[in-house]
């Protein structure tokens, strides 16, 4: 740990600085709101650090530039918002299929379609259930503040490299654009791509190699998939991240991530003042989802209240975890709407009264 430096910064910029500090050597991005500060920040910082920045002609080109950068062994990142992330799904599937590390940031906005530019959490399914084709998973980290935008991004590069698999930061327009003071206390990392045992950098001194996801020989693709699945099971076992807030003795436990988790945290305090034993369970890794940890909080009569800025997507994972629909509440807002404290409190009180 280096001495902490305190700076006031937006979530999008914190994400960029997290990448720079993690040794990101290549960035490609295409303008889209609400993540434009991030691309602009990277254009300045990557130049300052003598690293590569490209404003690509599309999100398609951006993700494929990231694929090219990654296969040289460099740390590579692209960032976008919901419609742009949809365009990148083919490339993300190729990254997973070719076993290439990369960091992809989605600063979510309202959808479907062009939607709007307000914050949203409606890309949970796309991110956690595999938006691209084929059997693959990737670690999805959901920061709930500007400090975590830095930290999650910083850590994402290590996770991506550990498993040679893409990692996604699933943020939203509020976290991306709000400013908070953060402590930058992490050491600058540097990677040596020449030491990468799989990268393509020219075959001098060794046999030539290829990077591919195509396996036509009978059984070969299934075998490749078995290897991938073994990797995903390891990720499930080792990469679970979550935070609990006042869950000890709680009768009602909110389950929320990102912006919704911040709202629910305030709601927990207000409900506690009114004598309602409320708590918050905040998954930080949306994949792997902390099923066992959430289940462990279930006292048999505990009410779980899932709050999202969507029609209810993480809700399915909450139900899976506690396997009891009658005690899982849901409140969500769609198309850029943000859950309001008063609405959440009303639903929570009614449910607790019923019990």
């Amino acid at each position: 740990m280096t001495p902490a430096k305190k700076i006031l910064i937006t979530g999008n910029e914190a994400c960029g600085e997290g990448a720079v500090t993690a040794g990101c050597g290549f960035y490609a991005g295409y303008p889209i709101t609400p993540q434009n500060e991030l691309t602009a920040y990277m254009s300045k910082r990557m130049d300052e650090c003598g690293r590569v920045f490209i404003q690509s002609e599309s999100e398609l080109a951006a993700i494929n530039m990231v694929l090219g950068a990654s296969l040289t062994g460099e740390r590579a990142m692209t960032t976008s918002s919901s419609p742009g992330i949809s365009l990148m799904q083919e490339g993300i599937s190729y990254l997973a299929g070719c076993q290439l590390p990369a960091v992809i940031v989605n600063v979510m906005r309202g959808g479907p379609g062009l939607g709007n530019i307000a914050a949203s959490q409606a890309d949970y399914f796309q991110a956690t259930k595999g938006g691209g084709h084929g059997d693959y998973n990737m670690v999805i980290l959901a920061p709930a503040g500007v400090q975590e935008m830095f930290e999650c991004t910083y850590e994402a590069f290590d996770i991506a490299e550990r498993y040679r698999n893409p990692v996604m930061i699933l943020s939203d327009g509020i976290i991306g654009q709000m400013m908070e003071p953060i402590e930058v206390r992490y050491p600058q990392k540097s990677v040596d791509p020449d030491k990468s045992p799989w990268a393509l950098r020219g075959c001098k001194g060794r046999e030539s190699r290829s990077i591919r996801s195509l396996f036509l020989k009978e059984g070969a693709l299934e075998e490749w998939n078995r290897d991938l699945q073994r990797k995903f099971r390891t990720m499930e076992a080792k990469e679970v991240r979550y935070e609990t807030y006042k869950t000890g003795g709680a009768r009602l436990i909110f389950v929320a991530y990102g912006t919704s988790a911040r709202i629910c945290r305030a709601v927990v305090d207000k409900l506690r003042q009114e004598g309602v034993k409320a708590g918050l369970f905040r998954p930080v890794s949306l994949w792997p989802f902390p099923y066992k940890k959430l289940k462990g909080l279930d006292k048999g009569t505990t009410v779980f209240f899932d709050v999202e800025m969507s029609a209810g997507q993480m809700l399915y994972d909450v139900r899976l975890a506690v396997a009891d629909d009658s005690r899982v509440l849901f409140h969500g807002r769609m198309g850029g709407g943000v859950p309001e404290e008063a609405d959440i409190i009303n639903i929570a009180k009614k449910a607790v009264k019923r019990k």
Partner: protein, 241 residues
């Protein structure tokens, strides 16, 4: 392991396919320039998708049409390596037009080998952007019709127009003289890159004897009598320093 750019062993291409000659020519140029150990090739989606099984240097696959984007990043990070894309007419001239145009226009210091045989071979002989007017394919059974299918796309001319490009040539490998010229064009294109001059592209008019005609003779005659009349051969751009 051999120190030649082309591996020994069988290829999956149909008998008479232009890709076998194009592979051999590219590999001869790489050997001739002595750059095999610092070359990174990007293989397309299409008939040449298995190029990495035949090339004895570092090769990656790329999603359909995206080779130039992948190559852009590799070359920016490794400017002293020789980076080239090898793409067919479906990959480059249909699904990948955005990437090839923007990569060329940025003046990326890479080389593109564009093999134009006028048809989608891998998927069973469908209409390509480069298919000739009137040509029968699996999806134009009455022949390519302008009103329904639009016009054939002249990629080399299009790329030569862009200010970011330095060397563009169209060659054909249906004659001995054509093969010799193709070798020279590829050598020049790679040299342009190695001299740091910028983007170079060689369009190779090639024969698809499986879907291009009813016989090998007819396929070769078509190139001579029809195709190179529409796609004229020669250097379209050569900007010396």
């Amino acid at each position: 392991m051999s120190d030649k750019a082309l591996k020994d062993g069988p290829m999956h291409y149909c008998p008479g396919c232009g890709h076998t000659m194009a592979h051999k020519l590219v590999c001869d140029v790489i050997d001739g320039l002595g750059v095999r150990e610092r070359t990174i090739g990007i293989a397309p989606v299409g008939c040449a998708v298995l190029a990495y099984d035949y090339w004895n240097f570092d090769v990656t696959e790329a999603p359909h049409g995206r080779c130039p984007a992948v190559a852009t990043a590799i070359k920016r990070l490794l400017p002293d390596r020789v980076v080239f894309t090898y793409q067919g007419d479906g990959d480059l001239a249909a699904i990948g037009t955005s990437e090839i145009i923007h990569t060329a226009n940025r003046g990326e210091n890479i080389t593109t080998v564009f093999v134009n045989n006028g048809v989608y071979g891998m998927t069973g002989g469908q209409l390509a952007p480069t298919t000739m007017l009137g040509q029968k394919t699996a999806t134009t059974i009455k022949g390519r019709d302008v009103r329904r299918d639009g016009y054939p796309l002249k990629i080399a001319e299009l790329i030569a127009l862009l200010p970011g490009t330095r060397y563009v040539e169209r060659v054909s490998i249906h004659t001995k003289a054509g093969v010799e010229r193709a070798a020279e064009a590829l050598r020049t294109a790679f040299k342009v890159q190695m001299d740091g001059r910028g983007f170079s592209l060689v369009e190779i008019v090639a024969v698809c004897p499986t879907y291009g005609a009813r016989s090998v003779k007819e396929a070769y005659d078509r190139v001579e009598n029809e195709i190179i009349k529409f796609y004229p051969l020669g250097i379209l751009k050569d900007e010396g320093l």
